[in-house]
Symmetry: C2
Subunit: 296 residues, 2 copies
């Protein structure tokens, strides 16, 4: 058995000459990032979902991009509205989806039943770090406030993108935009055609690997045929509502930091291990903003 990607420790150099400096990996850059390159994620932006079987998924919400939908989601969480709901759909190379339809039970206080579309926002007000490589879906891509964005300087708009682990609001046909009562996460190739057609409300920062290996549903669109296949959700809490000892703390890399700029350059020009031929470019969904547990 061999590693498709060898760790640098596996590269044994033989001979008398001093070994050349090992090319850096993205992991090296992230590990060496100074404390100043990290920003705390507010506890009210972290939502902890616990499921039967000990599965736990932590989502970072994006109020800067979908404020009304995120406010709804916080209200659902605070009222324990999702108790008894399930993961009921897993479609290969697409999405895992969970929650409960609004018609099943009364909406909690404070939930906006018919939110306006929050599929994009004004570019104005965002400080953007451009990525600088061509994209099939948008005039420009880059990063703002810790998030990957696609943007259109001419139209003055910016939107979050359907990269791996990103979380959107399931909805019926327009003009319905969904309340946030049912959510999905991308578990396959980026689904960028959905961008600007759905409200993206955040990203999974821990535990996407608890959703991605769930059995695929055999009904159309990956719905589970047998209700017994559904994965019950036992608890959904905002981190800010948890006792301090139970509260997870995360940080995201400052996208305006020199460390992040170095990381992007390296992602586009990997020379570590067996990357013999750097691509000279990278796409937005392959150059994620690093997120980590906040060091103690």
């Amino acid at each position: 058995m061999r590693a498709l990607i060898l760790t640098s420790a596996a590269a044994v150099l033989i001979g008398a000459a001093p070994p050349p400096a090992k090319p850096l990996t993205p992991t090296d850059i992230i590990a060496a990032a100074p404390a100043s390159a990290w920003r705390d994620i507010p506890a009210e932006d972290l939502m902890v979902i616990e499921m039967q079987g000990g599965r736990k998924v932590i989502i970072q919400l994006a109020p800067l991009f979908a404020p009304v939908h995120v406010a709804n989601i916080r209200a659902f969480a605070r009222s324990n509205w999702w108790e008894g709901s399930t993961v009921y759909r897993v479609q290969d190379n697409y999405v895992a989806q969970w929650g409960q339809n609004e018609t099943d039970k009364p909406l909690p206080t404070g939930v906006v039943a018919k939110p306006a579309a929050e599929y994009h926002r004004a570019l104005k007000g965002l400080t953007v770090k451009p990525l600088g490589y061509p994209d099939a879906y948008a005039p420009r891509t880059g990063y703002a406030a810790g998030w990957p964005i696609a943007y259109d300087p001419a139209a003055g708009t910016a939107n979050l993108t359907h990269c791996y682990g990103y979380v959107g609001v399931a909805r019926d046909l327009a003009p319905d935009t969904g309340t946030g009562a049912e959510l999905y996460a991308i578990i396959g190739n980026a689904a960028r055609a959905l961008d600007r057609n759905i409200a993206i409300v955040g990203r999974v920062v821990e535990g996407i690997d608890q959703l991605s290996p769930l059995p695929r549903g055999t009904e159309a669109l990956g719905f589970y045929k047998d209700p017994a296949q559904r994965v019950p959700i036992t608890s959904v809490k905002l981190a800010s509502d948890l006792a301090p000892a139970d509260r997870p703390a995360f940080q995201q890399m400052d996208v305006m930091s020199t460390t992040f700029a170095s990381l992007l350059r390296l992602r586009a020009n990997r020379k570590d291990a067996f990357y013999e031929r750097p691509a000279g470019g990278v796409d937005l969904c392959s150059a994620a903003v690093p997120v980590r547990r906040k060091p103690a």
Copy 2:
């Protein structure tokens, strides 16, 4: 529970006016494709992998792009060399990997122990259908002989790409290129940075959803910690070596057909169901070449 993507059957129109024509979906176009838009895949290009637990994965080999590695893979299959090997690595959002290291047992007759790099090939000799949208990794993308390709007209080269379900040859550091004894399939976002650094030998045409939900390995790079977690491979056969009754038959869409051109236009401009805002573009890995079981 709602469908993230509604089927057209779910869109009930109310009122006296005749309903407008429903916008086509990619599925509609594929279903309506005439027989002339399909090409049989040769049986010697189809490899059937059976695993414990009834898992079956069928791979289409790409001799046009990696002839020596594909010849090796056929030789491994024909000599039952993989019997007793396993899927031993599953890394989330990256790869599932299987096979057996060449050092474990003697190579079968006919296997080239040190193949040359087949990371790209000459563009010359390929009839190319350009995709026509920007790409972060290559000057051009398109399709040739049933395969998605990235290509560089100036350099005169073309290569297969690490899209979802594509299969590559695991290797150690260069100049080793791997024999094909160990293979991986992409089970997450496209891993295009690997393009031109590894020999891609084919794609999973059926059963990627047998690999993608496997438990993720907890060791570095997704290796299984406990050998008992490995998934035994019970049989690997070329379709051409199976009895006619057991032989799967597949077809791929002719990438030079008008049907495929229509499909690409639609993938870049979806208006069905809740696609309110067509992207105006699509990337290579989101616009796969349709493959189907050959109709009886």
